[in-house]
Amino acid sequence: MIEGIIVEGLIYGILALGVFITFRVLDFPDLTVDGTFPMGAAVMAICLTGGMNMGLALIVSFLCGFAAGTVTAVIHNKLGVPGLLAGILTMTMLWSVNIRILGGRANLPLLRTNTILTRVEDLFGSIAGETAALLVFFIVVVLVIKLLLDLFFHTDLGLTMGAMGDNEQMVISQGVNPEMVKIIGVGLSNGLVAVSGAFAAQYQGFADVNLGQGIVVSGLAMVMLGEFLFSSNKIGLLTTRVILGAIIYKAIMFFGRYYGYYINLTPNDLKLITGVLIIVCLVVTKYRTKSFKFRRPGK
């Protein structure tokens, strides 16, 4: 049970890292995520059933997510549309695109397909058991992504992106095109979200175009839960916090599913719980602003 929670937490932790980049670093509330998460799942599923190299399939998923994010950023930049609306536009369009990707279907099962996860289970399952093998695999994957992201935010471009969400004028004053920074940031974020979707599809054994419904809210809840753990301005700790938040979120959802029936909760109520969770986070943060004054990250 606990392994399951952590594995799910790690898979969605990648999503949460993506949401963290847009909502916290860039201060760009990007709803494209609801479309790129199932997009990553769809691309991965169709590539795997088509027999493509698994690593390559993952990279293709990332690039598709990146491209979708770019569309949102360009709509926002070039047409002067608010970020929220630009995200909703792309997200809505992606629903149709995702069905196209899946070959006119809304759903594609992966139960008989070889995936990265079945490969991991085959290779290491005999040593430590399948659950443990998956757990170790995802710890490594998420750690690599996290470290790469930390590294990125130490580069000159990464630092500039950090300044962007706080002070766009400063970025302009440094002779940097803010539109370019947004395109790269929103693209990167959605690329990560697509990778998260790709792993989620393999883990659940199917890709579905409705996989992403409300996922951005879950991602935001994960980020906010993480922010309760500790405050810092070091990017390494900030990304760690996000991943821990994702695991905590998945644990809460797990207990909601399993013990919720005592108070008549059904799985259909989980979205309500997520929303309430965010509101509680906001309320608590509001009344703790003193100790959380420097809560907003972005280094």
Binding site: D156, L159, N167, V171, Q174, G175, P297, G298
Partner: protein
């Protein structure tokens, strides 16, 4: 070096809010000039800055930097030549980042790549530069800028701007939002850096005495026009009384901004 030719700026053209903010403004800024700009509220001083920096595109007229017509270049492209400091101390730095990261971002103008260039040597260099501010910021290099006072933030902005060596410095009442002690300190740092780096400077101020004390050239704006532009000997011998009289002779009205006279 920088030339403005027949700049006109009209907001809300053809509507009831029609507002002709800049009227046929011609201005030639020579290398090494230190121009102080004075004028009452609504005279068009900040709009003039916006036109020079590229934040606003003029309705008509041309902006020329180094013989190149940059009228249609966006602000971020012109920022390579121009360092602007705003009245609001929050606009020059990112509050959620450490001092050192802020300095790194502003260390070099232009697009930033995937290089990690913040190394030990750079840190030492930034520390040395911070020591010059004499605010003990060198001991707080890893603290977020959001924890600094307005004066410290503005001094840091000034330092960061200086290190990027812009060709033209635009100061937009950059001490007006600070308390008198900090304002004096930032102003002192300003004139020190200007001398040291031989910057070409434009400085908007509300304070007439300040406009007279600083710089080698003085511009007074009124109702969207440059009405006084004096430099050299005449500027050196200028007093507040002479300036007010000159304004009166030209515009045939009293200079009304009490604040400028009294402060």
């Amino acid at each position: 070096m920088i030339k403005l030719e027949k700049i006109n700026m009209i907001f809300g053209e053809g509507t009831v809010n029609h507002n002709h903010v800049l009227k046929d403004v011609d201005l030639k800024i020579n290398r090494g000039d230190f121009i102080t700009i004075i004028g009452s509220n609504g005279a068009g001083k900040t709009t003039l800055y916006n036109v020079i920096s590229g934040n606003k595109k003029p309705t008509a007229g041309r902006v020329i930097i180094n013989d190149k017509d940059v009228t249609s270049h966006p602000e971020y492209r012109r920022a390579k030549y121009i360092g602007r400091i705003f009245q609001d101390p929050l606009l020059g730095t990112a509050g959620n980042m450490s001092i050192i990261d802020n300095m790194q971002v502003s260390g070099k103008k232009g697009f930033k790549g995937l290089k990690i260039s913040l190394n030990k040597a750079k840190r030492d260099y930034f520390r040395g530069q911070l020591e010059r501010l004499d605010m003990e910021l060198e001991q707080r290099m890893n603290d977020n800028v959001g924890m600094l006072s307005g004066g410290q933030r503005q001094a840091l902005t000034l330092l960061m701007m200086s290190l990027s060596r812009p060709e033209l410095v635009l100061l937009d009442e950059h001490t007006a939002a600070l308390d008198p002690r900090n304002a004096g300190k930032v102003l002192e740092l300003t004139s020190r850096f200007i001398q040291e780096y031989n910057f070409t400077v434009m400085m908007i101020t509300h304070n007439m005495q300040q406009a007279i004390d600083y710089g080698n050239r003085l511009i007074m704006m009124d109702e969207g026009r440059i009405i006084i532009d004096i430099s050299g000997k005449e500027k050196q011998n200028l007093t507040v009384e002479r300036l007010v009289k000159k304004f009166h002779d030209i515009r045939k009205k009293e200079f009304t901004s009490d604040e400028a006279l009294l402060s």
